[in-house]
Symmetry: C2
Subunit: 139 residues, 2 copies
Amino acid sequence: MFTIKEVSEKMDVSEHTLRFWAKSGFFPFIKRDQNNVRLFSENDLEWVKIVKCLRTVGTDNKSIKRYIDLCLIGDSTISERYGIIQATKQKAEQQMSELSHQLELLEYKENYYKKLLKNNSAVDEWNPMNKVKEEESIA
Amino acid sequence: MFTIKEVSEKMDVSEHTLRFWAKSGFFPFIKRDQNNVRLFSENDLEWVKIVKCLRTVGTDNKSIKRYIDLCLIGDSTISERYGIIQATKQKAEQQMSELSHQLELLEYKENYYKKLLKNNSAVDEWNPMNKVKEEESIA
DNA sequence: CAATTACTTGAGAGTTGCTCTCAATAGCTT
DNA sequence: AAGCTATTGAGAGCAACTCTCAAGTAATTG
């Protein structure tokens, strides 16, 4: 059994967020000790894991709650849960491809700045002939 | 020259967000027509592109403003901008690897549900012998 | 054994980055 | 002229945290 602090470190989710998620009903099986302190079991960690996964992919909390509730209902909801997981997978894949697209832009910029740095250190800054005119700055 | 609606469609960013970004000072060169309507130039689209890129990777708006301001200052800030782009690239790479990690979990779940669906349709649900005991539901 | 330190709790305020609503204005169409 | 379509800025609303705080408990230390 783990305290919220231990879970926070183990799963790399802030204690605040874990409490917020708990209040949102994302961890239905959490026990408390005699002092009302939350104690997470290994099984509870699995719930943290799936919630973190869904949030990482950008699922909103309402949809996460829906998924949790489906799990609690039981076997009759398996095909709906299967659909949710599939849709989430697709979303994750789209995000990967979007990210790799943005990485291309970042690499282009990186090279652009690298070149500028090389040139700048080579030229004589004090020579007015090296002044470059620009209509508008570039991002 | 493009209206905000055209830019919204071209760049896949909502008009609301574009206005919000404009108000935040992310597009320093935007012109207006005689009716105060914003007109984006091709160069302005480049600013939209880089802002969208930085936001996609999760850069906060304050840091984006800092980057924009550095661009406006000019050549003396190239090495700082280079650093920002490098750090952003790293962040994007981390996010890719986090996403692909989460994709693994999603694939595992997908297979798990796929198997359950196959079994469920094969067994006789009305046979009490097929009742499976579970201590706690699983996410 | 009182005091300090280290956690934990829930309530609730504050923050970020949108997102949406609205009234005012302008141009185009019939 | 009336209707339709855009655009604008101001400002309300929202999601998902994030942070602050007072209160409670437990272990440690002087």
